[in-house]
């Protein structure tokens, strides 16, 4: 495997759930590049889905979503940032169930909100045999 440590990929897209497939596919592609197993890749995809969905909601939000994928030593780190002109309704943090799902699929995850800006980070490490 080529040395991928330190590579960084950034995606910016409108905050609509229809584009989350792109976020997922990118994550899967990069995880594959890191030598993750299929199960680990599925885990990353689930986590990206959960966290991105918490950011954009089921109907999308006015604003943009930026994802930064960092390839580390046997690890994939994904930072998400949603900058919105307005966020209507309840705080869209992941539910308790969602947190449980995330805990089962990735090594680290966090979700923060600062006014109309929301961020998440997830870290998935490859199991090194």
């Amino acid at each position: 495997m080529t040395d991928v440590d330190g590579e960084e990929v950034r995606l910016t897209m409108p905050a609509t759930p229809q584009l989350l497939r792109v976020a997922r596919l990118t994550a899967a592609g990069l995880a594959g590049r890191l030598g993750f197993s299929v199960d680990e890749i599925e885990d990353v995809k689930i986590a990206v889905d959960e966290l991105c969905f918490a950011l954009v909601g089921s109907k999308g939000r006015p604003g943009s979503l930026t994802l930064t994928y960092r390839l580390g030593n046997h690890a994939l780190i994904i930072d998400g940032e949603g900058v919105f002109t307005s966020v209507v309704g309840e705080s869209p943090a992941p539910s308790e169930l969602s947190a449980q799902i995330l805990a089962a699929v990735v090594d680290e995850h966090e979700f923060t909100r600062d006014g109309n800006t929301m961020r998440f980070r997830l870290v998935k490490r490859r199991l090194v045999a």
Partner: protein
């Protein structure tokens, strides 16, 4: 399909006769007279990943239904009446086959091949294979493997009640999950995963429980339930999507 006036009148008389005596010979005659319509409609669904012969069969089945249900008294042209029935049958065929109609055949085939390779390698290695390993075995590129894995999300055979797409004779996931269920007390599951999941079919709850509470990997669940890892992936992502939608709907 062009029929001249006298043909049309002859057919209409045959329909009227069939409507009163339900003679199978007349029925066959009517079906034969309209096979061209079935084929014409089947062709409109060609190039979507299903062999034309199969589509013509499906369309013909729709035609048989249309002939049996057609009521000449209502003054409709038969073709006007039959077209939606035949198209409905074709659409249902695609739906039951699982593929959303738009997935290109190349990706479908790749998806099926990669699915098989993943399960083979998982058995061989006793662990989940990497993209590199899959690409090597399947004789394709790593990018194509990633694409094929993701194509699972376009696959709609997610209903647990439906038969498995790769084997129409199988009893469907419901039957297969039956053996696992007794081990998993409902109350325990609910306590673990919260009240939201009670909105999901019980069998999907089992899968969520195995994955997120028991910590089984998708490959392990696949092995335990005797289905492919890709299928587990599809079902899980569908359940999670439903959960998110449920969580968003204030009730």
């Amino acid at each position: 399909m062009t029929l001249d006036r006298s043909d049309k009148e002859a057919l209409m008389r045959t329909f009227e006769a069939f409507a009163s005596n339900r003679d199978p010979a007349l029925r066959d005659q009517l079906i034969e007279a309209h096979l061209g319509l079935a084929e014409y409609l089947a062709r409109r669904f060609a190039n979507r990943g299903e062999p034309l012969d199969d589509l013509v069969q499906v369309a013909s089945l729709g035609l048989v239904k249309a002939v049996e249900r057609f009521d000449p008294e209502r003054g409709l042209e038969f073709t006007t009446f039959a077209t939606p029935t035949i198209v409905g049958e074709l659409k249902r065929h695609f739906r039951d086959k699982g593929w959303a109609v738009r997935v290109p055949r190349r990706v479908q085939e790749l998806h099926l091949r990669v699915t098989r390779v993943i399960d083979d390698l998982a058995t061989e290695f006793g662990r989940s294979p990497t993209v590199q390993e899959i690409a090597h075995r399947a004789g394709t590129t790593e990018d194509e493997v990633v694409e094929a894995i993701d194509a699972g999300s376009a696959y709609r055979s997610a209903s647990l009640d439906a038969g498995r797409s790769d084997d129409d004779e199988s009893p469907g996931l419901l039957g297969q999950l039956g053996e696992v269920d007794p081990e998993l007390a409902r109350a325990e599951r609910r306590a673990a995963l919260g009240p939201l999941i009670s909105g999901l079919p019980e069998r999907e709850q089992v899968m969520l429980y195995l994955r997120f509470y028991e910590g089984m990997t998708q490959s392990e669940i696949a092995k335990r339930l005797g289905i492919s890892q890709m299928h587990v992936s599809r079902l899980l992502s569908r359940s999670l999507q439903q959960l998110r939608e449920l969580a968003e709907t204030p009730d």
